[in-house]
Symmetry: C2
Subunit: 323 residues, 2 copies
């Protein structure tokens, strides 16, 4: 079985690669497990600290390069499409966001359609498809109302993956992800990046800035749970999905204060004291426009689960970064 991960040198891409190579096989729909022969990590950037495995092939290039994308999608059985320009960057540079998030996806879908092998495609969407006035509890039936270009591009991606699946060009699955916390590595250009920084940096003895009020809630998933969900999405039978390919994932709702309380339990008051409070009204406004309470009935019926508590997320982060 051959795997393609776009955005593959990013941290979730690398984790999926490591995890499926640890597993060694993938089993579709309860059928016989199939050996993994090759994992292509495709990305615009070469990346750092890439997993070392002879089955891994790193290819850098442009996701809108039609002939290149046709080449890397040859004989591929599963695609995780994670390549994306993140929210703030897509808002600051509209063309860049459109190129990667919309035209890149279209290039990928057309290449897969041309090959005709109907691979499983797992597309990473997110809660940025929502914005503005939201109901107290967001459900599978909540209408998407993106208020950012990134959210618009993800919402379009959901529609494209659904219709390409309905037409039988691919066998797609859209995961609508909560905010991922604690992300390892460095801050990125997502408005949500500080949710990771305020845990990650203090654990290293470094200070971090929190731009929102302590009672600000956020709907999250851990990197480990995200990777598990990503792999689970590939193993689901198309029969389980019927005609609904969009799976809003469950997650954990915590306030910044609850996150810091958990940090104190794990790493002591000195860690929490490294968090500096500098309110940024723009970030506060963006964060408040996201769903906080999400009822993910469809995903739960398919077996997807939320993290149990924030303390265990911190513990897992410590384990993973000490590897």
């Amino acid at each position: 079985m051959n795997i393609l991960i776009t955005g593959g040198t990013g941290f979730i891409g690398k984790q999926i690669a490591i995890k499926i190579l640890e597993l060694g096989t993938i089993s579709f729909d309860g059928q016989a497990a199939q050996k993994i022969d090759k994992v292509i990590l495709f990305d615009a950037f070469a990346g750092e600290e890439l997993p070392q495995d002879p089955k891994i092939q790193v290819i850098t290039g442009d996701i809108t390069d039609k002939s290149l994308v046709e080449k890397i999608t040859e004989n591929i059985d599963v695609v995780w499409h994670l390549a994306a320009v993140v929210s703030s960057a897509a808002e600051a540079d509209f063309d860049l966001g459109m190129n990667v998030n919309l035209y890149g996806l279209l290039t990928l879908l057309e290449a897969l359609r041309k090959h005709g092998s109907k691979p499983r495609v797992i597309f990473a969407s997110g809660c940025a498809v929502f914005g503005g006035e939201l109901p107290d509890v967001v459900t599978d039936q909540t209408v998407v109302t993106p208020k950012s270009s990134y959210g618009m591009q993800k919402a379009i991606g959901e529609l494209l993956v659904s219709d390409y699946s309905r037409k039988g060009f691919i066998d797609g699955r859209v995961l609508r992800l909560p905010t991922i916390v604690v992300r390892p590595g460095k801050p990125n250009k997502a408005a949500s990046t500080f949710f990771s920084s305020i845990i990650r940096e203090p654990l290293k003895g470094e200070s971090a800035i929190c731009p929102v009020q302590a009672d600000t809630p956020v709907f999250i998933t851990s990197p480990r749970r995200c990777v598990e969900s990503m792999i689970q999405a590939a193993t689901l039978s198309p029969n389980q999905l019927a005609d609904n390919r969009i799976i809003p994932l469950p997650g954990l709702t915590v306030t910044v204060q609850q996150m810091l309380d958990a940090l104190e339990k794990v790493a002591g008051k000195s860690a929490v004291d490294l968090v500096q409070w500098q309110e940024d009204k723009t970030i506060q406004r963006i964060v408040q426009s996201w769903p906080v309470q999400v009822k993910a009935e469809y995903a739960e019926s398919l077996g997807f689960k939320a993290d149990e508590n924030f303390e265990s997320i911190i513990q897992a982060h410590i384990e993973d970064t000490q590897k």
Copy 2:
């Protein structure tokens, strides 16, 4: 004031042109009325029975032809974007539907963005953005779930027009239209085309086939009401629209039987007898997947109205075709 109507040689395009030239001016947001200087009818087809007026300029071409679209959008103040490959055709030829309905819209939006004059853009969407399991009453908050490529392309168009408006590239307004009945002229490739045929043909003394059961309901707007709504959408102030550019229109819900009862009142039993019943399960299934009861609160708050009854729609059709 310069006007561009794409799909301009189609029947709604021609009617908008006739109506605004009759009016002679357009008044934005209650401000001073502005004289109409030029109306470009742009279409892939030359069309027939075009309105004769020195202000009208007919241009045929491809909506994805970037340099041509940049040329026809120069100094344009209002665009009605009606150009589309209809439902059955977009389902039968996926590439054709994607080219016109998605890439054509993108070409238009990018040309308008490049010119930088932020024209008003009225985009014709439709109830095909819905499909599958629907609530009994579809509202402004009902999640879109297209089950056709046409519906997917229209749903994407809604998102694009909304975000291009939010970014200030255009001043867009999306009208989500009910099925238009009675369409003049010949049947087209839309699954809904028979709803017009079963009225239009008998009025000419010709037979028509009804492929669905008599108790099948449909949610409709008349051509006249559609054209009025299209023009009204152009005159709304952006302040009235705030951050919601998607306007699901109100309409009239009637069954096929009620339509034929109205036909009998207007044209007698001999007209109704010209309708032949030949059930087509595919069409029945498609039609039943559309919304029937729609609560259009947002549109009504903006002053949009449904037709009053089906008899008056038939009367208007007779008047309009005898002109």
